[in-house]
């Protein structure tokens, strides 16, 4: 048991400790600042979740169906664990570099398996606090339940995530040990993640109705409908059913018995899991370790492979290749730029088909979209989408220890920073184009406005990219053992959101203070504001190019 705990600690430390050391050798004040940032962020998210939960519980109380809320929250926790585990289990079990060091150690197979599984479970608990604990706490307060509810809720939230994590891990292990495709880590990850994303998109499309401006009664009705999904999942995760019964029961004895059932099922699940995992995990793991050194004999090199290009072209191509060929970076950095706006288009089209009445259509046709407020809304939407593009904020960290390369080649650091920003700018431009096209379909904008909005979006995008690369340079995460750590266990990822929020705030301020201004002048003023920010960010990057690279060593 001690070995499992120690091994879990080591695995956890290697994946999370880097988050604290991102500031190099942090001073006391830096540590305090980052702790305050964590707390503020957590409180901010917790407040949003609490408010949302409160609204839902109040809606359900109207039709006296508030208990459905418990089922829905446990469903969300379960669904989140399933999706998250598909992404993380492949990395935690198979693609961490420490596998080579762990395998030769005198550890029993189940010790390694349980320690790795603990990492998955503990990681999920962090999110469970936000999406499970807080909503159920709000529920408890609003429905004035007894004190025993809180204790039962705590135990239920500790137990419920375990079974889904075990199930997904076993499926991943089975695929890894049998599928030939897993010899290619990249393709496997790509296919697995695309599959998960497709499911998520399908689910979000099927619930587009939620986007409407709805009354409390309608919301409650929809929540009852969604409860059908809980019934569907109960078959797969029996603990879900017992946990719901336990938390909704009026009798403490019944509640305890139901919770005991959850415990028994979970323990049985762990035993079966360890038994199966011992049989299949190491087959897949060893296969994977060996496959990485498999050789692919060649094919004569074509002379046109010896292209010589301009340095900027060569460098930017290199950046794109490294982004596209790495499935984790591709999924987390590149894809959201296209996927999220595209999803928006599909949703808008479906929405228009479903809900626009002839009168609304007439109103929309006669609506003059060429106003400054509309321009602000479009720019705000573009900003919102750009917070999901993680290219510039990970531009240095993605190189890992290899980032020292930047410092010994005869190319100025400033130029290299700009080349590294280009993919972010390109993807941001694609997001802008998609958003503007959709806006044009709905609001029929005039050409000059489209051009001006696009220019403003580009200026914002370039400024943001430069600010984000400065942040990554100041707090690079260069010590990582799997690419996943760069795009998930990286505190810097909060900054695209913060920067976008600030940009949206500036846009809102402009919208409020310049409401009646001529649309073109308004956009030009907004562009100028962002151009000034861009100028200062760029000057800072240029003047401090060497100092900013001091953490790369």
């Amino acid at each position: 048991m001690n070995k499992i705990i120690n091994l879990t600690k080591v695995f956890l430390k290697t994946s999370f400790s880097n988050m604290n050391t991102q500031m190099g050798m942090p001073s006391k004040s830096n540590k305090i600042v980052s702790k305050i940032l964590y707390v503020v962020l957590f409180l901010y998210l917790a407040a949003i979740v609490a408010l949302f939960s409160g609204g839902m519980v109040e809606s359900l109380k109207i039709i006296n169906q508030q208990e459905i809320f418990i089922g829905l929250i446990l469903l969300v926790v379960t669904a989140f664990c399933v999706i998250q585990t598909i992404f993380s289990s492949i990395n935690v079990f198979y693609f961490t570099k420490d596998n080579e060091y762990i395998l030769p150690l005198p550890l029993k197979p189940y010790e390694i398996i349980l320690a790795r599984t603990n990492v998955l479970i503990i990681t999920e608990y962090i999110v469970t606090v936000l999406i499970g604990f807080i909503p159920l706490l709000v529920y408890g307060v609003l429905t004035s339940v007894s004190m025993s509810y809180y204790l039962l809720m705590f135990v239920a939230l500790v137990l419920v995530p375990i079974l889904p994590i075990l199930l997904v891990s076993i499926i991943v292990m089975i695929i890894m040990s049998f599928a030939k495709i897993t010899k290619n880590k990249n393709k496997f990850q790509l296919i697995a993640t695309i599959l998960v994303l497709s499911i998520v998109i399908a689910l979000s499309l099927s619930t587009t109705k939620l986007q409407d401006d709805i009354t409390n009664e309608q919301l409650a009705h929809m929540l009852v409908e969604a409860n059908g999904m809980v019934d569907l999942l109960k078959g797969y995760f029996p603990t879900l059913d017992y946990a719901i019964s336990s938390l909704t029961s009026d009798s403490i004895v019944v509640a305890l018995i139901e919770l005991l059932k959850v415990l028994v099922f979970t323990i049985s699940g762990v035993i079966v899991y360890v038994f199966i995992a011992q049989k299949i995990y190491f087959k897949g793991l060893v296969g994977n370790l060996f496959s990485s050194s498999s050789k692919k004999k060649n094919i004569k090199i074509n002379t046109n492979k010896y292209n010589n290009s301009k340095l900027y072209k060569s460098y930017i191509y290199k950046e794109f290749k490294c982004l596209i060929r790495n499935p984790v970076f591709f999924m987390q950095c590149l894809l959201p730029a296209i996927l999220i706006p595209l999803l928006m288009i599909v949703m808008v089209i479906l929405q228009m088909k479903n809900s626009i009445t002839p009168q609304m259509s007439e109103q929309l046709n006669s609506f003059n979209g060429n106003t400054f407020i509309v321009a602000c809304v479009i720019l705000g939407v573009i900003q919102f989408f750009s917070m999901f593009i993680y290219i510039a904020i990970t531009a240095i960290s993605r190189d890992g220890k290899n980032a020292i390369f930047m410092k010994y080649i005869p190319v100025s650091l400033y130029k290299q920073y700009i080349y590294k920003c280009i993919p972010n700018i390109v993807m941001g431009s694609i997001t802008s184009i998609i958003s503007i096209v959709v806006a044009n379909i709905i609001l029929k904008l005039d050409m000059l406005m489209i051009v001006l909005v696009f220019i403003a979006a580009i200026i914002m995008n370039v400024a943001e990219s430069i600010i984000l690369i400065i942040i990554d340079l100041k707090r690079p995460k260069l010590e990582w053992d799997s690419e996943y750590a760069v795009v998930k266990q990286n505190f810097n990822l909060i900054f695209p959101m913060i920067i976008s929020m600030i940009a949206i705030f500036i846009i809102i301020l402009a919208g409020v203070f310049l409401t009646n201004i001529n649309v073109y002048i308004g956009i030009i003023i907004l562009s100028l504001i962002f151009a000034i920010i861009l100028y200062f960010a760029n000057m800072y990057l240029y003047k401090n190019q060497n100092r900013l690279a001091s953490r790369i060593m």
Partner: protein, 240 residues
Amino acid sequence: MIEIKNVSKSYVKGKKSVDSLNLDIKDGEIFGFLGPNGAGKTTTIRMITGILDIDEGDILIDGESIKTNSLQAKKNFGFVPDSPDMFLKLKGIEYLNFMADIYEVPKEKRVEKIEELTKKFEIYDELNSQIQSYSHGMRQKIVICAALLSEPKNWILDEPMTGLDPKSSFDLKEMMREHAKSGKTVFFSTHVLEVAEKLCDRVGIINKGKLVFVGTFDEMKEKFKEEGTLEELFLEITEK
């Protein structure tokens, strides 16, 4: 030619990792840089190549200061870092082309050099594969090929023999000798004392950040008045 002038570096205040280092590596010379783990070898190499800032002193590469004229100085050397795990998602040929673009190697020259170097190191047939599929030794070879592609006058190699098979190791040593014979400079760090003894014109031994010996092996034996093996001499110097 590499001139290291009174160079110091501290990571922690009050503790110098490299302390007042003075060293001249002349043209036509193979210079071996030796020292126990944590002695300051990699720190020194990282300062020479511009990866680390220099706290005190200066380093000149063919007369160009890495501190004040770093771009020009960087054009004057080819560098092989201690870890060859770079650009794993690029194919071998893409990586070499990228490096050739950085060092502005003309097309005809790069075709000739890539073929010559990769055939010599027996990785030509693997150039269309991604570097991540290469073994450690093959990665080391492609990094060496990339560093030598632009025919730099000064070679700076951090543990270049690590992971190389005997033939490649032999070839690299031959190449180092030819390079030095043509009047150019090779500066490399190593832990393998026998390699240093057979290959180097001079060696420098660094210990706890200070240069404790610089000269030929004969001078080393002379200075320490010992007739022991190279290993014994090294231990004698570094444990003093």
